[in-house]
Symmetry: none
Subunit: 210 residues, 4 copies
């Protein structure tokens, strides 16, 4: 069932953004349950009834935001150069694209960061379903068209890929925790990546490939 929030989309863009940002912020800070629609309407400077005219319920508002940030995320994949077959070049690329989009939609990423923490049964089943799909389409896509023949033959490639993925994700997470909000993320972060990439290449690429 796809719901199109036509009344909402017919608002002028500035008002839409005010509402989206107010809601992203409130949900990111407090989680679904504790987030207050009162706070959202106050910050967005709209009337109580309006929010429910646009989105019917708190739950639908949350799911709408979830779709919204997915839309933002998907912009990453639109910008990837799929001709680059080297895993680490690809990852570097993705990192840079992400950074650019971070800066454009900082609240969306703060919201996204809070989604996996969501406990409320009202929305959990929905976001779990969508998350699963995202991971399959999305994360999988990050590896599309990668030249796997560069990897050592004497180790299980699946496990190597896992170690690389975990390293990249854990390092990213560590960096992200250092900044309170995505608004401040900086390109400096990427220098250290290269050093990790260098280690991983030396370990997992075939000798002659290095």
């Amino acid at each position: 069932m796809i719901i199109i929030y036509q009344i909402f989309y017919s608002l002028d863009r500035e008002k839409q953004e005010r509402i989206i940002n107010a809601a992203l912020k409130e949900f990111a800070q407090n989680g679904y349950e504790k987030a207050s629609t009162n706070v959202i309407i106050k910050e967005a400077e709209i009337a109580k009834g309006s929010l429910f005219k646009y989105f019917n319920s708190k739950k639908e508002l949350y799911l709408f935001l979830f779709d919204y940030v997915n839309g933002v995320i998907n912009k990453i994949y639109d910008e990837i150069d799929w001709n680059e077959t080297d895993l680490f070049e690809r990852m570097k690329q993705i990192g840079l694209i992400k950074l650019r989009i971070y800066k454009q939609y900082p609240k969306a990423f703060d919201f996204l960061k809070s989604v996996p923490n969501e406990n409320s049964p009202e929305v959990k089943s929905k976001i779990d379903a969508i998350k699963k799909e995202l991971i399959e389409n999305g994360l999988g896509m990050g590896y599309k068209n990668i030249n796997l023949s560069k990897f050592r033959d004497d180790m299980d490639t699946k496990k190597i890929m896992n170690i690389i993925t975990w390293t990249i994700m854990s390092f990213s997470e560590q960096q992200i925790k250092k900044v309170s909000s995505f608004e401040n993320v900086d390109i400096e972060l990427f220098y250290e990546w290269d050093e990790y990439f260098d280690i991983l290449k030396r370990c997992f690429y075939k000798k002659e490939e290095q």
Copy 2:
């Protein structure tokens, strides 16, 4: 500020356990916000007022439980054989000890598992602070007295350790998600670990050490 819950500790041990277990269960199942003090007092068979006499507020109760499970976790470090200097043997040991303690305090671990999902601003700042300390003291301690000379000299040892740590933690997390509750965790899980350890050793130990 350290608060000692004098009145609570003066209760007979069986009542203390009833309260702790009821609270651990309720918070683990529903998260801080949605957890109901009514359910807790009903399960623990105590009066409403008593709970607040013992712990002052829902928030303090939560933080008390957090300290309690930390106490449980620290038992791990009491049992480690610090004479074992090989990193991977040490890790294997820790895993086995954890498993034993899991089985003894399943509710504590279910609670601990739920903590990182906590979104509520009321407790988030507190648990983030304590978590940070835990990681520094705790995880750091896991590495105490490890023979670092086994590692390759041509790579930054700090970064190697990070890659190893992230791999172990990510793999553990992946395994944990497969089990619904710690009550059923089994030793079989550990076989796959060895395969990862083998890869990591071949990459990061000096050639002659293998």
Copy 3:
């Protein structure tokens, strides 16, 4: 205070009917309080603002409908043969006329049936007042030009008339409750009436009149 809904009456007849029927249906089904102006405007295919332009408020719309159905009811009196002076023949006539008009304006009668159930203080006082007037003018009119000399002299004629009226009304009410909607009312209902009329005649008419 008499309000004439000028703007409404200047609409083309088909639109007027659409609005009246939509409103009659919604009020009859749900009562004043629960009736939704949204449902009415949707069914009548007019704009929200228009309804309030025509009738100012939900309350006035309701009272307008009340007047409208009174108009329908009054058609009954236009069709009565006032030369028929026998009470029971007159009543039979009224019943048959009612039935014909029922079938012509089913929604009006469904609405009318729902009016006595109305509890809302917003409209109750008004309809009570109008109802009283209706009973006095209307029901009274039903008795106009009746030959009262047929009734026994040894009993208070006023009381006899009351007993007859109450019997007719109570019996009617009982019959009405058996039908879900006036659309299905049938002539069969009238057979039992004759049996009651027969009893009443034998009791209250002078002996030689029978």
Copy 4:
């Protein structure tokens, strides 16, 4: 399913009465839907939460009141002298008993009067079910042990009884409408009854019985 409102019943009688009377009044005046729990708690001088502690929901409160007034009504049948077999003596008796109870529980009767007007689907099914039972047990009981042989043989006794019942009920209703509230009902009302009873007896009893 029978629910016993033990917390409510453990309150002191004066508070119970304050709550019951406030709720009876609000529901009688406004009907189920429009009645405001806010008004009730204000009039009863209790806290918002308390009302819901006692009765769980507005719906349960309404149904509780319904049972309460049924209890009041049933007192009528406890006081009837079932050895009196004359229909009209019996009716006179019931009328007098009702009057006494009216004066004791005026609000209960105002509430009862409003029940048949109730449209809200939330409570309608429930009250319809109970009403049916009441009519069967209750109204039927009014006629228990009546000596039917006094009635004329040449007319259908069922129809005679209906005419008598309708007359009594309609007359009562007429009288009731004259008083704004049951608090003012007076014994004078009953004199006119005798005159109606006299007419009905002369019509419907066998000649020699008169």
